[in-house]
């Protein structure tokens, strides 16, 4: 077990706790950049998919894991990001302006939608946001002149200062683009966590009453969280559009919303790692299942509902046995290894929490 002898406040502020952590993440980054030279195009495409899901997961994690507000409407914001980006580029804006702007516009729309919705708590907020997912479909059809309605749209090829990026013909370039966006989003998230706003998010999540007493404006903080969350989700949506190559009103359905929420629960609520772990599960599970199925019952046999069923099972098992998700399990394994052989069996047993004042809600 590493013991940190802290000699300055900077130790608690900087991104990496020690040289070892810095080394691990530097190695991970180096691996990520070298990946196109290590694996073939099919798997590179799959990894790209994982990263896109991870960005979307980070978006929802900021809202649900950090601020404690559940949302089943994030598919709608994926759609907003995707369509906004495509329309802005069609209007002649270059990608380097259109793409960031698409995220910002999604964030602004998210904030506006959030203001009435945030009077609701917990399950009621989740139900209200389901409406967004369902409405998005109809709105896309109604706004046919811009969105192409049921026949959908094809995103144009990305050009950054004359440098062309396309998902199918140049998968490694598209992978690098997604990787850069992922790193930026992760850094934004990390920076927020170590600054006053991130702490205000956690305060709102854990106790609204005392957050108010400490001078945190609850509604404004929640709306900010919603806006930031939607901004990141918007970027993920735009990238999803490019990844899919075509999209219409049914691409961003409520199933995507549910998958997103399940993803961050399985990954581990409230942690950046959780978004990535969850994304790996969501993106690889369908592939793994079809490979497994082909091996067991032979190809060509379709089992309807297999994917959904397995996904549901995994979710139930996690909620029952590991509510902290994959990241929580990873932490436990790590502590067990660090303390070996002194780890105790009941070290992670949950303590009963004390009474909380709910009267003021």
């Amino acid at each position: 077990m590493r013991i940190h002898f802290k000699t300055s406040y900077e130790h608690d502020i900087r991104l990496f706790q020690d040289r070892w952590t810095l080394g691990v993440y530097a190695a991970l980054l180096a691996l990520a950049f070298a990946l196109p030279y290590l694996i073939d195009e099919f798997y590179l495409g799959e990894v790209t998919n994982v990263l896109i899901w991870a960005i979307a997961g980070l978006g929802l994690m900021l809202l649900t894991g950090q601020t404690g507000q559940a949302s089943l409407g994030h598919a709608a914001f994926l759609a907003v990001g995707c369509y906004t980006n495509t329309i802005l580029i069609e209007q002649g804006l270059p990608f380097v302006i259109a793409f960031p702007l698409a995220g910002v516009i999604t964030g602004v729309i998210g904030t506006i939608v959030a203001i009435p919705a945030l009077r609701l708590h917990g399950i009621y907020l989740a139900i209200a946001t389901i409406a967004l997912s369902i409405l998005a479909d109809d709105i896309i059809v109604l706004m046919e002149p811009w969105t192409g309605g049921v026949s959908g749209k094809f995103p144009e090829m990305i050009t950054i200062f004359g440098f062309e990026i396309e998902r199918w013909t140049m998968p490694s370039r598209f992978y690098y683009l997604v990787l850069v966006v992922t790193i930026c989003c992760t850094l934004f998230y990390r920076n927020l966590l170590r600054s006053p706003l991130g702490r205000a998010f956690a305060a709102v999540r854990d106790s609204e009453v005392s957050a108010t007493a400490m001078g945190v404006h609850i509604a404004r903080t929640k709306a900010t969280a919603f806006g930031l969350s939607c901004m990141i989700t918007g970027w993920a949506g735009a990238l999803m559009g490019y990844y899919a190559g075509t999209f219409n009103n049914e691409t961003f359905s409520i199933v995507i919303s549910i998958t997103l929420l399940m993803m961050i629960v399985i990954g581990g609520l409230g942690s950046i790692h959780g978004a990535f772990f969850g994304a790996v599960v969501v993106a690889f599970l369908p592939q793994a299942l079809s490979i497994l199925k082909d091996g067991l019952v032979g190809g060509g046999v379709a089992i309807p509902g297999l994917e959904t069923g397995v996904f549901g099972m995994i979710l139930i098992l996690f909620i029952l046995f590991e509510p902290m998700g994959i990241y929580g399990r990873w932490l436990k394994i790590r502590i067990w290894l660090e303390l070996f052989p002194f780890a105790r069996k009941d070290m992670f047993r949950r303590q009963k929490s004390y009474l909380k004042t709910e009267r003021l809600r």
């Binding site: 502020i13 706003l197 702490r199 909380k356």
Partner: protein, 255 residues
């Protein structure tokens, strides 16, 4: 002029009169205690000052400013910090993070600066940390800095909550039953801390407390409440020997 002045405050929940035409004032630099049997309206008075409840009638003045013009989150900006009867900490955060939330009213940086962690954010973080470290030193919380609240014992949580209120650098500190659930030793510590908060930091303290030992030990003046109305006010000894107070606690005929 008093630091906090409450005039003719009234609050009703349906037919129940929780606070009934209550007036009192707290002077700068004193420790003022509110005592009373259960349901007397002590915590309700705190929640009125915190603006969690809207009074039916009454005037609330803090340092010459009308408290009723303020939103609940703006009360902290005036320099009023509080603790809660049932401990309202941020359970899934560390002690350090909890105390840093106490500094929220001193936040100067904008969203954009924080997203990019601009140099100003870093400087501000150092300043907040320094203020928090002073509180940690004052309350001897050094061993718990990086511990999660969810795993801490009750007595420590109570101290962390006091620390979070102190970290905000208040002028008036509202303590809702600071000694409830504490052991004799911990109560003794609390008594010294309240003394030091007043003498070293110059913070005015308004507290609700049942432990009469603590109340008579630290407070300059005591207000006894029953059924939301003022029963007696004066020095701890005066209030304790007041026949109306004894009757409210022990029933008629006990005096």
């Amino acid at each position: 002029m008093s630091l906090l002045e409450i005039n003719n405050a009234t609050l009703k929940f349906g037919g129940v009169v929780a606070v009934n035409d209550l007036s009192f004032s707290v002077e700068e630099g004193e420790v003022y205690a509110i005592v009373g049997p259960n349901g007397a309206g002590k915590s309700t008075v705190f929640n009125l000052i915190s603006r969690f409840y809207e009074p039916f009638a009454g005037k609330f003045t803090f340092d010459g400013q009308n408290l009723l013009d303020r939103e609940p989150d703006e009360v902290a900006d005036l320099g009023i910090a509080r603790t809660f009867q049932n401990i309202e900490l941020f359970d899934h955060a560390t002690v350090l993070q909890n105390l840093l939330v106490g500094r929220h009213r001193h936040r100067k940086t904008t969203l954009l600066e924080e997203m990019f962690f601009a140099p100003r954010v870093r400087r501000e973080e150092h300043r907040h940390r320094e203020a928090v470290e002073e509180v940690i030193d004052f309350l001897d919380l050094q061993p718990y800095r990086n511990k999660m609240i969810a795993g801490l014992p009750y007595g420590v949580r109570k101290v962390v909550e006091l620390g979070r209120a102190l970290a905000s650098g208040p002028r008036l500190l509202l303590l809702d039953e600071p000694a409830s659930g504490l052991s004799v030793e911990e109560t003794q510590d609390m008594r010294w801390w309240i003394d030091d908060i007043r003498k070293q930091m110059g913070i005015t303290v308004l507290m609700v407390e049942h432990d009469m030992g603590l109340v008579s030990g630290v407070s300059d003046r005591v207000l006894a409440l029953a059924d939301g109305a003022k029963l007696a006010e004066g020095t701890p000894a005066e209030v304790q020997s007041n026949p109306a107070v004894i009757e409210a606690y022990l029933g008629a005929g006990a005096a």
